[in-house]
């Protein structure tokens, strides 16, 4: 599909602190009983943000000074666990445009890239500095430059990393591979003819 290239993301950032934020925490399985992704944004981080009874835990995402934030900042191994695309879908549908974390679980990273949700990895000390800065000054504009692989926030500036094919895909607007895959369908048919699938009983 021809999509717009994504070169820079600018906006305010909100911290979701902790390492190993798994996909069950991003969206608990009980909210995945659905046949579309509509409305999933409402359940983003449900159990981090609310008690079982539905009372707000006053998580930064729900604090007034972070309303309108478009960048999530978290810890190591973000998105580990299940392959559910419901997780990045919930993040996108809640209005977020990028995630900065220590590193990302592989399937989550791929799912996010396909949706045009850039996930960039930063060093632990840089993440801590960014978390402190936006906690202290929530109005800080954070900019992620995907070309230079650099994050700038106020006086803070640090390098980030991203898998080359994902960076290339986002910068060229080809992060959703479907059009490129479809273009090769004749070649796929040739190869598939040589590699049989399961035999019908």
């Amino acid at each position: 599909m021809s999509l717009s290239p994504i070169r820079k993301i600018s906006g305010r950032a909100v911290p979701v602190e902790g390492d190993d934020i798994d996909t069950d925490r991003i969206i608990p399985a009980r909210y995945m009983r659905c046949v579309t992704f509509d409305g999933l944004g409402d359940f983003l981080f449900r159990d981090i943000r609310q008690t079982p009874e539905g009372k707000s835990k006053n998580h930064p995402i729900d604090q007034v000074q972070f309303q309108g934030a478009t960048i999530l900042v978290s810890g190591m191994n973000f998105g580990c666990g299940s392959s559910r695309e419901h997780a990045p879908q919930a993040i996108v549908r809640a209005g977020f445009q990028a995630v900065i974390a220590g590193n990302f679980a592989e399937i989550f990273f791929g799912n996010s890239t396909t949706l045009g949700l850039p996930c960039v990895s930063a060093k632990k000390e840089d993440l801590q500095a960014l978390t402190q800065l936006v906690t202290r000054e929530p109005a800080t504009q954070v900019e992620i430059d995907l070309e230079k692989l650099k994050v700038t926030a106020g006086k803070l500036s640090f390098p980030v990393t991203m898998k080359a094919s994902a960076q290339q895909g986002l910068l060229s607007g080809r992060f959703d591979a479907i059009a490129d895959l479809l273009a090769n369908l004749p070649k796929v048919k040739d190869l598939a003819a040589r590699i049989p699938g399961p035999t019908s009983p």
Binding site: D22, G81, S83, A105, A192, P201
Partner: protein, 469 residues
């Protein structure tokens, strides 16, 4: 220079390079279920696309199915809408659906091997992270997201970058009461929950070769809990014996030809690996998790570690885990009261799991007040267990014997923890909220250890509980 199985299978299935530098990979077999496929079919319809190779996609229903009351419509209207949607999608696009009335329904990772759909040397994809299970047969199997489910439906391919390969060699003899589940929990604890990111794990060595196919599935199943998207075991004679005669396998002369081909896909003796780790089987003891990720495990006779004694990177997660689990550093898990025992999931709900546990359960009773459920992984597993009288052993002991499904492994169906209940579970994830209650507490362990916990009402060393057997 020799090649690994991963490299051979990758090279054989590569269609070509894509503009972003990734590879377009042919997916030999695609498995789908009700949770991650409906949106993919929706995208397909929006784009006006067809399913390119419908005979290469197989469907079943597992995550949302109730395991007690199977009458439709399901009480949960959302779950009911999901099964109906899958039926419609399979009918519209000509996909084989192992639906409830077929007698072949079950957890997708149990149904594939059972039907002989899972075969060596192929690529498999499914919108579920435990797809790595199929690697037990020497397939390269990927868990994928819904957009990739769409890609595979529309083109039978997806865009991927090659993985590095880490050989995990397990040597020596497992002690009595130590199982495949303990091996993989030990691997994850040793290499870390994200130690496998970017890698395919090749499980090898004499200990792995000595395991049955079902035990190998348990190990490959949890690769993703160690961060590895793909895990596999080289196919051997046991693999071929397990598959022979299964419905979707080649027959007659085609079978012989297939076996010859499958023998070629195993890693060459002189293959080079990006990394090699060696583990001694004799050092592994029955393992139980104490925390909120599958790497937070201890041997049953060990104490829960103090966060200060762990590597710096693991400390904050350990503190969070102790607070959530309401456990103390230094505490042993043996003797910890449980409220629920769950025997099931794609990790441990195959015939051999039930057979092994039934040897110890026979003639014993579930401790008073413990909610114990046994959920066969498929209708096929259930049928065999009934023919062998295994279900009777579980029922007589006080287990609730259920219909096939994912059940209490994840909170998507009526089988859920309540409040902060502690569950001895043969499943794969102990994440916060995983078993349906935001405060529920999951202790992962082998099926035999689940049975030991069920009969004593507390976490117990199965080797001691069953020593008289």
């Amino acid at each position: 220079m020799g090649k690994t199985l991963f490299q051979k299978v990758w090279d054989r299935h590569a269609v070509g390079k894509l503009p972003d530098g990734s590879t377009q990979l042919l997916i030999g077999t695609h498995l789908i279920h009700e949770v991650t496929s409906p949106q993919a079919f929706g995208m397909l319809r929006d784009l006006g696309l067809k399913v390119a190779f419908p005979q290469r996609t197989f469907a079943t229903v597992d995550h949302i199915v109730p395991t007690d009351q199977r009458v439709e419509p399901f009480q949960d209207t959302l779950a009911d809408a999901m099964i109906k949607e899958l039926r419609k999608n399979c009918a519209d696009f000509g996909i084989t659906f192992f639906d409830i009335p077929s007698g072949k329904q079950g957890i997708v990772h149990i149904v594939g091997p059972e039907q002989g759909i899972t075969q060596p040397g192929t690529t498999i994809a499914c919108g579920d992270s435990h797809t790595s299970t199929h690697g037990a047969f020497g397939a390269v199997a990927f868990g994928i997201g819904t957009s990739q489910v769409r890609d595979v439906l529309a083109t039978q391919t997806m865009a991927l970058s090659p993985l590095k390969v880490r050989k995990i060699e397990v040597r020596g003899k497992l002690g009595p009461g130590v199982y495949a589940k303990d091996i993989i929990l030990h691997v994850i604890r040793t290499l870390g929950v994200n130690g496998g990111t970017g890698f395919a794990y090749e499980y090898a060595g004499p200990t792995i070769e000595g395991l049955s196919l079902e035990e190998r599935m348990t190990i490959c199943n949890m690769s993703i809990e160690g961060g590895a998207r793909v895990g596999y075991v080289n196919p051997d004679q046991k693999t071929f014996e397990y598959l022979k005669g299964r419905p979707y396998c080649p027959k007659g002369k085609d079978w012989d030809a297939a076996v010859q081909e499958w023998k070629q896909v195993a890693s060459d003796p002189d293959a080079t690996y990006d990394d090699v780790k060696v583990l001694e089987a004799s050092e592994i003891r029955p393992t139980v998790t104490w925390g909120i990720n599958p790497g937070q495990g201890i041997f049953i006779d060990e104490a829960i570690p103090s966060p200060e004694d762990l590597p710096e990177a693991d400390r904050s997660s350990a503190r969070e885990a102790l607070e959530f689990m309401k456990f103390q550093a230094g505490q042993k898990l043996a003797g910890q009261k449980i409220q629920v025992a769950f025997f099931g999931s794609c990790t441990n709900a195959r015939v051999s799991d039930f057979v092994e546990a039934s040897k110890f359960l026979k003639g014993r009773k579930v401790a008073p007040g413990i909610r114990a459920i046994a959920v066969p992984g498929s209708q096929g597993v259930s049928k065999v267990c009934q023919e062998m009288g295994i279900d009777r052993i579980f029922r007589d002991a006080g287990f609730d014997w259920r219909e096939a499904g994912c059940s209490m492994c994840l909170g998507m169906n009526p089988d859920q923890l309540v409040g902060d209940e502690i569950c001895a579970s043969s499943s794969n994830r102990n994440f916060k909220g995983r078993q349906g209650s935001p405060t529920g507490r999951t202790l992962l362990m082998s099926p035999v250890m689940v049975v030991a916990a069920a009969v004593t009402g507390e976490v117990s060393d199965a080797r001691k509980v069953f020593s008289k057997t």
